[in-house]
């Protein structure tokens, strides 16, 4: 990886990550430092070191992989091998063509089929209608296209490596607090057991979303992928906030601030003046849900269910669990406690809530887990 070029290095974190990639290996803490700019990050009560080594390798082709993976995969980790702490980066990124080819290889390429149609003169009336429908709130296309353009204009090596780094920590650590798709399956369980009319309506909306967005959206709603993107959202947000969220309220306000799709009850709850001080710290950056790829991809995942109830369920239950576990991965052993979680786990292997629910946990029509 000595001659690694990488995409255009616009940010300090990209340059820092590139230095580590050129070295060929780095510790967990070094990678976090490169992404956050300082380590431990402000606000993080780190009490555990993360000295494990992560290696970087390029891949040009692998018989074990699907041949198309070389075209469509920017990076991967081998979750099946618990001893392999290596991030494999697409060899195309070793060349000066990385900014263009790397983007072509991104999964979001599917989302650009709409634009190809437009550019090749297919803008006839039906296509125009389809484009308008796709860009409307009927689908997640607006998130996909915005993040896709953002990746094209400002490709980020930091995001790429950060995401795979979190995957390594998810797959390789003994304590797998986050199951691959426990929350996702739980959400589908809940949706499948609604009344017939509600189920048909939700599935119709999901169908429209799937057709208009033209990409596998549910991929982004799995627990592993959401957590990896949540990490990148936090690292990007940290540069603006100056510290990382340490409580549930801080997390919710911060995520809402950077444009993560939130249920109405969250907005209503945080109107209160008592949260003004928090909003001064974690506020003023709305709209980034479209402009930052990790934020947009989180939104695609959260939007893929097309259900306000499931969105609320995710905010109430899933995001604090993912973030609490992320804090533990950063080296704060009390991360889960800070998110109001106990060390006990439920039948799905996910941590239980420690105390009574908070006010925003019991909104009207809130789906009950049991």
């Amino acid at each position: 990886m000595k001659y690694f070029m990488g995409p255009i290095n616009l940010t300090a974190s990209d340059r820092a990550i590139k230095t580590l990639v050129r070295k060929g290996s780095a510790t967990d803490d070094q990678l976090f430092e490169a992404q956050f700019g300082q380590w431990p990050a402000n606000g993080l009560q780190k009490d555990t070191d993360c000295p494990d080594i992560v290696h970087f390798k390029g891949f040009w082709g692998d018989r074990k992989l699907n041949p198309l993976s070389f075209i469509f995969r920017t990076a991967y980790t081998r979750k099946e091998d618990e001893h392999d702490r290596t991030i494999y980066l697409n060899g195309l990124q070793l060349t000066p063509l990385a900014p263009v080819l790397g983007i072509a290889a991104s999964r979001l390429a599917w989302a650009r089929l709409h634009d190809v149609a437009g550019l090749t003169g297919m803008v006839e009336a039906p296509m125009l209608i389809a484009e308008i429908a796709a860009a409307s709130v009927l689908s997640s296309y607006r998130y996909a296209i915005a993040s896709s353009i953002a990746r094209l204009v400002t490709p980020s090596l930091s995001d790429l490596v950060g995401e795979e780094h979190i995957h390594i920590k998810q797959f390789k650590e003994d304590n797998r607090a986050i199951a691959a798709a426990a929350f996702q399956n739980s959400a589908y369980d809940w949706l499948n057991n609604q009344g017939t009319m509600k189920r048909v309506w939700t599935e119709a909306k999901q169908g429209i979303d799937a057709v208009l967005t033209m990409m596998p959206r549910s991929y982004f709603s799995s627990d592993y992928e959401l957590q990896a993107r949540l990490h990148n959202v936090i690292t990007r947000g940290y540069r603006k906030w100056g510290r990382i969220p340490q409580t549930k309220d801080e997390l919710y306000i911060a995520l809402k601030d950077v444009g993560i799709k939130s249920p109405g009850i969250v907005g209503r709850y945080y109107v209160d003046e008592k949260f003004d001080a928090l909003k001064d710290v974690f506020g003023g950056h709305s709209g980034e849900g479209y402009l930052n790829p990790p934020n947009a991809e989180m939104n695609i995942g959260l939007n893929s269910f097309r259900s306000p109830d499931v969105l609320e369920m995710y905010w109430r239950d899933c995001l604090p669990v993912l973030y609490g576990d992320l804090l533990v991965k950063y080296g704060d052993s009390r991360g889960k406690e800070k998110m109001g979680l106990s060390n006990e786990v439920d039948l799905l292997g996910l941590p239980l809530h420690a105390g009574p629910d908070e006010p925003h946990d019991t909104g009207p029509g809130a789906p009950s887990p049991v």
């Binding site: 369980d189 499948n192 057991n193 017939t196 189920r199 239950d317 439920d346 039948l347 799905l348 887990p369």
Partner: protein, 283 residues
């Protein structure tokens, strides 16, 4: 006051609820003392001077049956142990069902311990049985009226359990031996029932269960039931969720977790909405 430590492979006579017996039999005698193979790894329990347990802990294990109508001719693992009245030895067979019972007020006296080879055979059989069932990939399009499928939640009604229960294993899926040839012969000669009962996770307190998030072992009880106890289907869970629960059960009985593989065609076309709800009275 004393302490008894139950270990995996121990067999003790325990008072078990009659969830498998016909209704008229269960009404007469809701509980019956039967030999029970303990599957908890280690379970220290306090007892009074008479050896009766004073603690309420969950014991998970397997019923052992001698001449019961349920087990005759079924694939089995045989072993002999002293009878309840110690009048002689009896040959027992497994398996009637995986179940959990409360240790409270049970007389805890270990009368037999399975040999290492027997335990190994038992673990292999259990491991083969405790797997999620592969479903037909188009099943999402059809209304499965005639079956009680793993992953479905049913309202059940037995003498000892009234409420909702998640089906873990279907009738016939739970066998204690891969070699079924002998039992087939027995079937032909004795015309006996060969299939096992359903294994369900009963939720004593919860109603309207739609997801397992937030539920713990204390919220459920593994038990074996016959199909005549199923009253009404109330919900169904994703195969992956059932697989998660199955892995939790495997962990408790000392089996390694299996890796759940998503079916190639997951929820074909996403049209689960086409499945009609089950009309009243149709099974």
């Amino acid at each position: 006051m004393g302490t008894v430590e139950l270990k995996r492979g121990d067999i003790a006579w325990l008072k078990l609820p009659q969830t498998l017996a016909p209704l008229e039999v269960a009404r007469e005698q809701p509980f019956k003392i039967r030999p029970f193979l303990i599957m908890n790894e280690s379970l220290p329990l306090q007892t009074d001077p008479n050896g009766v347990c004073t603690q309420a802990r969950k014991i998970i294990g397997i019923d052992c049956t001698s001449k019961d109508y349920l087990v005759t001719g079924r694939p089995h693992l045989s072993f002999s142990m002293p009878g309840k009245d110690r009048s002689g030895t009896t040959t027992y067979t497994m398996v009637d069902g995986l179940r959990e019972v409360s240790s409270y007020e049970q007389r805890l006296k270990v009368v037999y311990h399975l040999a290492a080879e027997q335990m190994k055979a038992m673990a292999e059989s259990l491991s083969a049985a405790l797997q999620p069932e592969q479903k037909f990939f188009l099943s999402g399009l059809f209304n499965r009226r005639a079956a009680f499928m793993p992953g479905e939640i049913w309202r059940i009604n037995t003498i000892n359990a009234k409420g909702e229960a998640l089906i873990l294993l279907r009738r016939g899926a739970f066998v204690a031996s891969e070699n079924v040839e002998d039992s087939r012969n027995l079937d032909r000669t004795r015309q006996a029932i060969r299939k096992s009962p359903y294994i369900v996770a009963f939720f004593p307190k919860a109603t309207g269960v739609k997801t397992l998030r937030g539920m713990t072992w204390n919220d459920m009880q593994i038990m074996a039931v016959q199909e005549n106890c199923f009253v009404e289907r109330t919900a169904s869970l994703m195969p992956a969720t059932s697989a998660n629960l199955m892995n939790a059960v495997r962990k408790v009985v000392g089996l390694p977790p299996f890796e759940y593989k998503e079916p190639v065609f997951k929820n074909f076309l996403g049209m689960s909405a086409l499945r009609l709800s089950m009309p009243f009275g149709m099974r």
